[in-house]
């Protein structure tokens, strides 16, 4: 009975996610049509094109048909994993992006791990200890949240790369260890703001649980401090924390644009910056789609995991 409720609920969540992606693709496609003047001018971005090339562009983006037909032909290509051809590189957008996903993916994962581990640790210590520790942590978190990624990048480069020479300033390195070493500074630069958000949200979540009566009750039953914190405080704060981590991971994808440019990394983020400045519309569309897909997939995964953490999540849904 319960398993059925859960699967119905999960199916609804998945359907919702699919709908979100669908709407987003309409927006991504529609952006081209919203460009003032002839979209082909935007697509060609001032390059000299032969009439045949222009015609091919028109056809590829469905500009020779109505909006719906144009969209359907474009989305049909997307579903076959054909994101079109880059005007700048003259190669398939898909291969441009997948060739760079390795660096960007590792960077996001590295950065998210740093932010999640340190943010939660600081949040927990400050919530449990209170007093001075709490005040220091809250100032630290506010400062971290308010630090823009490009400022952090420049500061880290100046200090650890140019000043101390501990980390390389550019490149992604070769081999696993070398790559991690190369990605450390960019990962830290991206993690700073995410760390600040997590330290604040985590502190609030932990502090709320610490004040709950079930925590007082657990203490009244002689459960040790470490066990109370593990089973009743951290366990119960996981749900809100995981939700925030999901949003942060997706926003880190956007952050790669700044960091990869600053640290000379050849990833999806720097590709986006280059493509925007060269007005390489198909690449920008492709990266936007990937970003949206990542955002929706991560958040749907979080939503699907939540009932395992807090069984009350599904209880509010359809009645048994």
């Amino acid at each position: 009975m319960k398993a059925r409720t859960l699967s119905v609920w999960a199916a609804r969540r998945a359907l919702g996610a699919a709908l979100t992606v669908l709407v987003a693709t309409v927006v991504v496609y529609g952006a081209l049509r919203l460009v003032p003047g002839d979209p082909v001018v935007a697509l060609s971005a001032g390059r000299r094109l032969t009439p045949e090339q222009i015609e091919a562009l028109r056809h590829r983006h469905g500009l020779d048909r109505g909006f719906l037909q144009g969209y359907l032909s474009w989305i049909g290509g997307v579903l076959r994993l054909d994101l079109g051809t880059s005007l700048n590189y003259q190669t398939s957008v898909m291969s441009l992006i997948t060739g760079r996903l390795g660096v960007s993916g590792l960077l996001i994962l590295y950065s998210a791990t740093l932010a999640a581990a340190l943010g939660t640790a600081v949040a927990l210590v400050s919530a449990v200890r209170g007093g001075v520790a709490d005040r220091i942590a809250s100032v630290l978190a506010a400062a971290a949240t308010a630090t823009p990624t490009f400022v952090a990048s420049i500061a880290l480069l100046a200090l650890f790369s140019i000043g101390l020479g501990w980390f390389p300033a550019t490149g992604a390195g070769t081999g696993p260890a070398d790559r991690l070493w190369h990605l450390t500074l960019p990962a830290v630069a991206m993690a700073i703001a995410a760390f600040g958000v997590l330290a604040r949200v985590g502190n609030a979540a932990f502090a709320e649980q610490l004040g709950r009566e079930h925590v007082v009750a657990a203490r009244s039953r002689g459960v040790g401090t470490a066990a109370v914190i593990r089973r009743h405080v951290v366990r119960n704060a996981l749900a809100p924390l995981l939700t925030v981590v999901g949003v942060l991971v997706a926003s880190l994808f956007v952050g790669t644009a700044v960091v990869e440019t600053a640290f000379g990394l050849d990833g999806v983020g720097s590709l986006l910056v280059t493509s925007v400045s060269r007005r390489d519309f198909p690449v920008v569309q492709g990266i936007a789609l990937i970003g949206i897909a990542l955002f929706v997939v991560v958040n749907t995964l979080v939503d699907l995991v939540l009932p395992l953490i807090d069984p009350r999540v599904t209880a509010g849904g359809p009645r048994r």
Partner: protein, 316 residues
């Protein structure tokens, strides 16, 4: 030998006094009521029995619970007291059980903490649920708190309290959050279990009628002080403190006689905002200048011990 012995307990947080000279005793197999309005300090007093004080509290006096000197005890001794000798049942079962863990985990947690092997703890959990009248304990341990009604959940909490086989049971408004019909069942359950095991129970409530029905003796608290102590029957027949009489007159009676319900004028005071001398004098119909001079000593009157200068004017 008393299972709970609180004497001259004073508690303050910063400059704010919360309890002054509180003395409460509970004997083996005795049920003792602690009655008062919110802010009177009754919950603070019951939590003191387990050494649970607000952050930054300064505490003086004596608290001995189940043979443990609570104010002198270290962390380990306090934990041991809470695991095996004294247990508390809280007001709202929905708030006092962790909502994201299973009922079975709740019941075995304390047992496991005191060193009972996992399998034995699981078997004990089933047995305890059976004792408090929960059907199909095998299914119940796998369920989460939100799948139970309030009354059923309070039975689970009581089962958890009994797991420790305590000498002292502290019940902090255990029925206030429940339906009236469920209240009666929970009270009957508490009384039955207490009788079977000879446990001493401190029953904290704001409901004087309920206290009189459940308890052998009752302490009435006002603004962080005990103002009257009496056997339940005597308290009803002949209240000695004006506050006790006012409380009785303020609650509707189910005994048939349609006495007028009289509200107590003014609002409840905490110890910090209480007037000099007798804390109740600004709301008391009998108060005069003498009441302002000093806090009245506790002295016998009829069956009561009362902190009032003129108890003969309350009940001749």
């Amino acid at each position: 030998m008393n299972v709970l012995d609180i004497a001259g307990l004073r508690l303050s947080v910063g400059d704010v006094p919360l309890l002054a000279d509180v003395t409460v005793r509970v004997g083996r197999a005795e049920t003792v009521g602690l009655v008062g309005e919110s802010g009177s300090g009754k919950s603070l007093t019951s939590r003191a029995a387990l050494g649970m004080f607000p952050r930054g509290a300064r505490v003086t006096g004596h608290v001995t619970a189940a043979g443990v000197d609570v104010l002198a005890a270290g962390r380990g001794a306090l934990r041991d007291l809470r695991r095996t000798r004294a247990a508390m049942v809280f007001q709202d079962p929905r708030a006092s059980i962790n909502p994201v863990r299973r009922v079975g985990d709740y019941l075995t947690e304390g047992l496991r903490a005191s060193g009972v092997p996992a399998r034995e703890a699981a078997a004990r959990a089933l047995d305890l649920l059976d004792q408090v009248g929960i059907r199909d304990p095998g299914r119940a341990v796998r369920r989460h708190p939100h799948e139970f009604s309030g009354g059923m959940l309070q039975r689970v909490v009581i089962a958890g309290a009994l797991a420790a086989e305590p000498d002292l049971l502290l019940a902090d408004e255990p029925t206030t959050a429940l339906d009236v019909t469920t209240q009666a069942e929970v009270v009957a359950l508490l009384k039955r279990l207490q009788r079977d095991r000879g446990t001493g129970m401190l029953f904290v409530t704001h409901d004087l009628d309920l206290a009189a029905a459940v308890c052998d003796r009752v302490y009435v608290m006002y603004a962080g002080r005990v103002v009257e102590e009496a056997p339940s029957a005597g308290l009803f027949r002949a209240p000695a403190h004006p506050y006790t009489r006012a409380l009785l007159e303020a609650s509707p009676s189910a005994r048939g006689e349609r006495a007028e319900i009289r509200a107590i004028r003014g609002r409840p005071r905490s110890l910090a905002e209480a007037p000099s001398g007798c804390s109740f004098r600004d709301r008391c119909p009998l108060a005069d200048d003498a009441c302002a001079r000093k806090v009245p000593d506790i002295r016998p009157h009829g069956t009561s011990l009362v902190a009032c200068l003129r108890p003969q004017e309350v009940t001749p």
